[in-house]
C-alpha cells in the first residue's frame, strides 16, 4: 500500500434495477495501491457494486466517486463468446474505446500496440494473439479479458470473478501480477468466490449481501458471525503457517 490517497469512495450507495434494490447503504473507501476482494453469495450485489464504481449504473441514493481512470473486466457470463473476434482485436477494444478511436480510424499507434502486447504477455496469451476468441478455452478467454482490462493501464482495475475457470498456475501468476500492479500504485478491486488463493495479497475484504456486512482486514471480516450473516452458514476457516486465515470453501463434509 502506498500513500493514503482515496481512489474510490462510496457513501450510502444504493442501487436498484427497475425499483428492485440490489445494494443498499454501502460505504466503502479504497486507497491508492490497495488490492481488495469483494465477496458474497450469488445475487448479493457484487457485480452491481462494480458497475456502480465503473459508472455504468446511477445510484438511486448516495454516491460513488472514483479519482482516476477505470478498467472493467465483466463477469464471464456477460460476454457473448460466440463472436470469432481475434484475441488481438479483443484486447485492442478497450484502448480504442478509451482513446475514442472507434469510428473509421481504428489503427493502433506504436505505443498502443506495445500496450496490447504487454497486456497479452502478462497473462501468457501473446502466442495466441491471432486466434479467434471462440477457439479458446474458458480459462484462456478469461485471461484475454483480463489483458483487455490491463491494456489501458488504469488507475483502478475492476475485475468480476477473474479466476473463474482459470487453472491454478495461471491463477497464481495473475495474482502475483496484480500484487505487483498494486505495489506500483494501481488500485485493484476484484470480486471472488474463493478468496483463499489471494488472501496473502489483499489488504481488505468487503463482504456483501445487499448491505455491506463487513469491510476490513481478512481476519476481522471472515468471522463466523459475519459469514453466517452473509452466506447463511458459517464458513470454516483454517490458519496457515504464516498466520493467515483461509476460508475452506467447498470443503464442508456432511
Amino acid at each position: 500500500m502506498t500513500g493514503k490517497k482515496k481512489m474510490v469512495e462510496a457513501k450510502n450507495l444504493t442501487c436498484a434495477y427497475n425499483g428492485h434494490t440490489a445494494i443498499e447503504n454501502v460505504n466503502i473507501d479504497v486507497f491508492r495501491g490497495e488490492f481488495i476482494a469483494i465477496m458474497g453469495p450469488n445475487g448479493s450485489g457484487k457485480t452491481t457494486l462494480l458497475r456502480a464504481i465503473a459508472g455504468m449504473i446511477k445510484p438511486v441514493r448516495g454516491e460513488v466517486r472514483v479519482y482516476g481512470s477505470v478498467s472493467y473486466m465483466p463477469q464471464k457470463e456477460h460476454v457473448n463468446a460466440s463472436i470469432p473476434i481475434r484475441v488481438w482485436d479483443v484486447v485492442s477494444m478497450s484502448i480504442l474505446a478509451r482513446n475514442k478511436k472507434f469510428i473509421l480510424s481504428f489503427s493502433l499507434s506504436k505505443e498502443e500496440k506495445k500496450a496490447v502486447e504487454e497486456a497479452l504477455n502478462a497473462v501468457n496469451m501473446l502466442e495466441l494473439k491471432d486466434f479467434p476468441f471462440t477457439s479458446l478455452s474458458g480459462g484462456q478467454q478469461q485471461r484475454v479479458m483480463l489483458a483487455r482490462a490491463l491494456a489501458t493501464k488504469p488507475d483502478v482495475l475492476l475485475l468480476d470473478e477473474p479466476f473463474n475457470g482459470v487453472d491454478l498456475p495461471t491463477q497464481e501468476k495473475i495474482i502475483s501480477l496484480l500484487s505487483k500492479l498494486s505495489e506500483k500504485g494501481i488500485t485493484v478491486i476484484t470480486v471472488v468466490h474463493n478468496v483463499s488463493p489471494l488472501i496473502h495479497s489483499i489488504s481488505r475484504i468487503a463482504l456483501l449481501n445487499k448491505n455491506l456486512i463487513a469491510y476490513g482486514k481478512p481476519e476481522d471480516v471472515l468471522t463466523p458471525e459475519n459469514t453466517l450473516k452473509a452466506y447463511g452458514v458459517s464458513i470454516p476457516v483454517s490458519v496457515c503457517e504464516e498466520g493467515y486465515l483461509h476460508p475452506l470453501f467447498g470443503d464442508i463434509h456432511g
Binding site: Y17, N18, R51, A54, G55, M56, I57, V70, S71, Y72, M73, P74, H78, V79, N80, S82, I83, P84, I85, R86, D89, V90, M93, S94, L96, A97, R98, F102, I103, L104, F106, P132, F133, T134, S135, R148, T152, L158
Partner: protein, 268 residues
C-alpha cells in the same frame, strides 16, 4: 447479352447478398434475429400503407413506406431490449412478439383497404426478382450503399457492443446510440431484401446465410465473406432454376439458404 429483366434480377441478387452479409452478420452477432423478424413484419405494413396512400392520389415509393416502418420498429424494439441500460430485459421478447401482432394487424388492415392493386400486394408478400423496375433497383442500390458505408464506419463499435456491452459502457462507449444505429441499418437491409424476395422470405434470406457462415467460419472477416458467397450462390441458383422451371426464384434461394444452415449443423 442478357435480357434486361435478367440483368436486373442478377443485380438485385448481388445487392441482396451484400445486405445479407453485412446486416445479417451483425444480426447474428447481436443475437437479434427475432428483432429482424419484427422489422420485416413492420416493413410489410409500411409498404401496404404506401400503396393505400398511392391509391388516394399521393405518390409514395412503396419501399420507402416499408423503410420508415421497419426503422421505427427496430428502434422501438432496441429500446425495449434495453441494451446499454442494464435494467431488466425479461420483457423484451414479449414486447417484440406484441409488436409483431401490431404490425401484422396493421398490414392486414392496410391490405384490406387496397382496392385495385391486389397483384402488387401479392408482389410485396412473395416478391419477384424478375419484375423489379429500374426505380426499385435504384432505391435498393442507394440503401445498400448506405448500409455499406455505415458498416465500414461503425463495424468496430457494432462488434464491441455485441461482444460485451457491459465493458463497452464502462469504457465510455455510447452503447444505446450505436445499438440504435446498428438496428436501423439492419432494418434498411431488411427492406432491401424484401424488395427482392418479398416479406415472407426476407427473414430466411437475411438470417440463414450469416447463421450458416457463423457456424463454419473461424474469423469475423470470413463470416462476412462466407455469408456473402452463400447468399450470392443461393440467389443465382434461384434465378437459374426459376428461369428454366416454373419456380419462384426467391423461394428457391431461401430454400437452399436455410437447407444449407441445417446441413452445416449436421456437418459440424
Amino acid at each position: 447479352m442478357l435480357p434486361p429483366f435478367l440483368e436486373r434480377a442478377i443485380l438485385a441478387v448481388i445487392l441482396i447478398s451484400i445486405n445479407a452479409s453485412l446486416a445479417g452478420t451483425f444480426t447474428i452477432f447481436r443475437d437479434a434475429s427475432f428483432l429482424v423478424a419484427g422489422a420485416a413484419h413492420a416493413a410489410l405494413a409500411g409498404a401496404a400503407l404506401a400503396i393505400v396512400v398511392e391509391e388516394a392520389g399521393f405518390h409514395v415509393p412503396v419501399l420507402l413506406g416499408g423503410l420508415i416502418f421497419a426503422v421505427a420498429t427496430a428502434i422501438t424494439a432496441g429500446y425495449a431490449s434495453g441494451k446499454g441500460k442494464l435494467s431488466g430485459t425479461e420483457d423484451t421478447n414479449t414486447a417484440i412478439a406484441v409488436s409483431f401482432a401490431l404490425s401484422m394487424s396493421l398490414a392486414v388492415l392496410f391490405i384490406s383497404m387496397i382496392r385495385e392493386y391486389a397483384a402488387r400486394v401479392w408482389g410485396l408478400l412473395i416478391g419477384d426478382l424478375f419484375l423489379l423496375s429500374y426505380s426499385d433497383l435504384k432505391l435498393m442500390f442507394a440503401s445498400t450503399l448506405f448500409v455499406v458505408l455505415v458498416s465500414v464506419i461503425f463495424h468496430r463499435a457494432f462488434l464491441f457492443i455485441s461482444f460485451d456491452a457491459e465493458a463497452a459502457m464502462a469504457y465510455g462507449v455510447n452503447v444505446r446510440l450505436y445499438d440504435y444505429i446498428m438496428l436501423s441499418t439492419v432494418a434498411v437491409s431488411v427492406v432491401v431484401i424484401m424488395g427482392g424476395v418479398g416479406a415472407i422470405l426476407v427473414f430466411a434470406m437475411f438470417v440463414a446465410p450469416s447463421a450458416t457462415a457463423a457456424k463454419i467460419a473461424g474469423t469475423v472477416g470470413s463470416v462476412f465473406l462466407l455469408s456473402f458467397v452463400i447468399s450470392l450462390i443461393c440467389g443465382l441458383l434461384g434465378i437459374y432454376l426459376s428461369f428454366n422451371f416454373p419456380f419462384s426464384p426467391g423461394a428457391i434461394a431461401a430454400l437452399i439458404a436455410s437447407t444449407t444452415y441445417f446441413a452445416s449443423i449436421f456437418v459440424k
